[in-house]
């Protein structure tokens, strides 16, 4: 009953001074909406950039580096008996660097519960020829469906369908730069010549564009068998294994473990992309700094507007107290007033912030680097909305509470005399 009366007084204050109330509420709205729009947009962009890198980069890459054998035949033949065997000017043998026992290893990896998936690759130098032109390039024999599942290769196929490559040993997906230079397209034929001199002719079923010219100018994808055929190798010839983990954080320790266990070179994503990691960290710091600044600025704005709103009401506070309302009653009235304004303004801020985010997420954003992205990325994480409304409520509460608390203890006459 009593609270009903106090709430009714608060409501009357708000409705009779609709203009000031609206301005105060809009101050809240503006602060919260700006916060939500900027944070959603910034984290959306960050997420896109991070996702881009993480999506297409294996968490662990296994291969065999070309290097001279650590144990030379001489060491094996004459076990040292206090003598030094010195072989000068050792050169590695010229041969394609394959992973030993790749197929059993692949099976083992796929059974590992920490691993989301692992794909085998056969990569080989080759020349592309069409007509009189000849281009140097790199052919990757892959299981295209696994590549799509784990590394989203399909996001970068700008023409054609990956299913046309799957199961077709005479098909190839070429980089956009190759297609342009050789002026060929889907349905055309292209001849590949390997370093060993093998020659095969393949039909183009897709065009690949990563956005990085140095990749698009050389890279192409075929089936594993096609690549093996090009190199004249058997079905157990695998040059690379790409691994995707459930938990990115485990990449570094697992890479070390694999290198030791399986006698391969294992590079984790952090080592391979150290500068990218730094970039992500810096972008995140900027995002946090901007959002905290925004919240503080919005908070002060909200506090100021409401504070003024309530200070203008000091006279009313004194009159209410003179007629028998207690300091707590007065506090309750002004806090509810502030919270009503904060809630209404805050909710409107959420709605406007969300609407603008939706609008931004429909704005066209086209870039060669991201063929599948057509609009600006926006992060619709609900925690921004929760932070936003919480902040609105806390700052409006304080804006009502602090002046009301001050007024609570003052004798009503002190206020009236001060006029």
């Amino acid at each position: 009953m009593e609270y009903k009366l106090l709430l009714q007084i608060a409501k009357t204050h708000i409705t009779t001074r609709l203009k000031q109330s609206a301005i105060a509420a809009l101050g809240v709205t503006f602060g919260i909406a700006t916060f939500i729009i900027l944070v959603s947009f910034m984290t959306g962009l960050n997420g896109l950039l991070d996702g881009l890198m993480l999506d297409r980069t294996p968490h662990i890459h296994l291969y065999n580096e070309v290097a001279p054998s650590k144990k030379q035949p001489l060491d094996l033949a004459t076990p040292t008996l206090g003598d030094w065997n010195i072989v000068r000017s050792i050169k590695p043998r010229q041969r394609p660097s394959r992973i030993h026992n790749a197929l059993p290893l692949l099976k083992l990896l796929k059974d590992n519960p920490d691993i989301l998936g692992a794909t085998a690759q056969v990569s080989s130098q080759a020349f592309y020829t069409a007509g009189a032109l000849e281009l140097n390039g790199l052919v990757n024999g892959v299981n295209i469906l696994e590549e799509a599942r784990l590394f989203n290769i399909d996001d970068y196929i700008i023409e054609g369908d990956i299913k046309d490559l799957y199961q077709n040993e005479n098909a190839i997906i070429i980089g956009a730069g190759i297609a342009q230079k050789l002026s060929i397209g889907i349905g055309d034929r292209i001849q590949l010549v390997s370093a060993q001199g093998n020659r095969i002719t393949l039909k183009i079923t897709g065009i690949y564009q990563s956005g990085l010219a140095e990749i698009d100018n050389i890279q192409s994808y075929t089936n594993i068998k096609t690549a093996q055929r090009l190199m004249g190798e058997k079905a157990n010839f695998i040059t690379d294994i790409n691994i995707k983990l459930h938990d990115l954080e485990k990449a570094a320790p697992m890479a070390q473990q694999f290198a030791r266990l399986y006698d391969v070179t294992a590079i984790d994503i952090g080592t391979a992309n150290a500068q990218f990691d730094t970039g992500t960290t810096i972008r995140n710091i900027i995002t946090y700094a901007v959002s905290i600044t925004l919240l503080i600025v919005a908070g002060f704005g909200i506090y100021n507007i409401l504070n003024m709103f309530i200070y203008e009401k000091m006279n009313d506070i004194a009159i209410l107290k003179a007629t028998g309302f207690s300091g707590n009653d007065v506090m309750y009235i002004f806090i509810s007033q502030a919270l009503i304004i904060g809630t209404l303004g805050g909710i409107l801020g959420l709605v406007i912030g969300w609407s603008c985010s939706v609008l931004i997420s429909h704005l066209p954003f086209e870039t060669d680097a991201l063929p599948t992205i057509t609009t600006y990325p926006v992060n619709f994480d609900s925690s921004f909305y929760i932070i936003g409304i919480t902040f609105a409520l806390v700052s409006t509460f304080l804006a009502g509470y602090l002046p009301a608390k001050k007024a609570k203890g003052i004798d009503p006459v002190t206020i009236l005399r001060g006029q």
């Binding site: 009357t12 009159i319 209410l320 309302f325 006459v413």
Partner: protein
């Protein structure tokens, strides 16, 4: 046992303002107002009449001495207790009306009663209309309080002071801002309340004619009571 009937009893009340310089504004004020008495306070401007009235009405707690209301010591009560005392026992009419501008006349009158919470909303509204009728301003009951004339405002303030049937009504030059016709009107109302309803009234005034119609005139000078004139 006259003392038992004391509505207000002040004992050695002293007050000092410290700003801008120490100024002893009330010096050893002791007096009593009994139930049903109509008392006026007179004195030169600046002698401390308003200051005294604010202390008696519990709106100023920065003083020394003792103040009793209905024989209960209220000096030193918590602000919450004092608010309740003001609400139930003291009706105050300022020189300037001090109505809440956002509320209608009727709501201004009803608020103290709603705060008291002893009656239902219907009863309170009924009482408020009755008081407004008695003061001849029921026709503006639904108007916003800032849209009525000065004389009407002052009468609304009186209605607000009356609504909880307080032990005492205090007025600080309640007619000071009104023209002679309106002030005669308000003074007539006070007299009527005193005579017909037997209310206890303590009114600060500069109007000698008005003061002569009260039961007793308290004269102040330089922060002291120098004389009680019973009539």
């Amino acid at each position: 046992m006259k003392d038992n009937q004391a509505v207000i009893r002040a004992k050695n009340i002293n007050k000092v303002f410290h700003e801008p310089v120490d100024f002893h504004v009330l010096k050893d004020i002791s007096f009593t107002v009994n139930r049903g008495e109509f008392v006026s306070i007179m004195g030169k401007s600046g002698c401390g009449k308003s200051t005294l009235l604010y202390i008696l009405s519990t709106m100023d707690t920065d003083y020394s001495g003792e103040l009793y209301l209905n024989n209960r010591l209220i000096t030193g009560n918590t602000p919450e207790q004092l608010a309740a005392v003001r609400n139930e026992h003291i009706g105050f009419v300022f020189q300037f009306h001090y109505l809440l501008p956002e509320f209608s006349v009727l709501e201004n009158v009803m608020l103290p009663a709603k705060k008291l919470g002893k009656k239902s909303a219907e009863e309170i509204e009924h009482d408020a209309i009755k008081v407004l009728k008695m003061l001849d301003i029921d026709h503006v009951a639904r108007s916003k309080s800032y849209r009525i004339s000065g004389g009407e405002k002052q009468r609304v303030a009186i209605a607000r002071a009356l609504i909880n049937e307080p032990s005492i009504i205090m007025g600080d030059e309640p007619t000071g801002n009104l023209d002679s016709k309106n002030s005669d009107n308000v003074l007539a109302i006070f007299r009527e309340l005193a005579v017909e309803k037997g209310l206890t009234l303590l009114i600060v005034t500069h109007d000698l004619d008005f003061a002569h119609q009260t039961d007793r005139i308290i004269t102040m000078e330089d922060g002291r009571i120098i004389k009680h004139t019973n009539q």
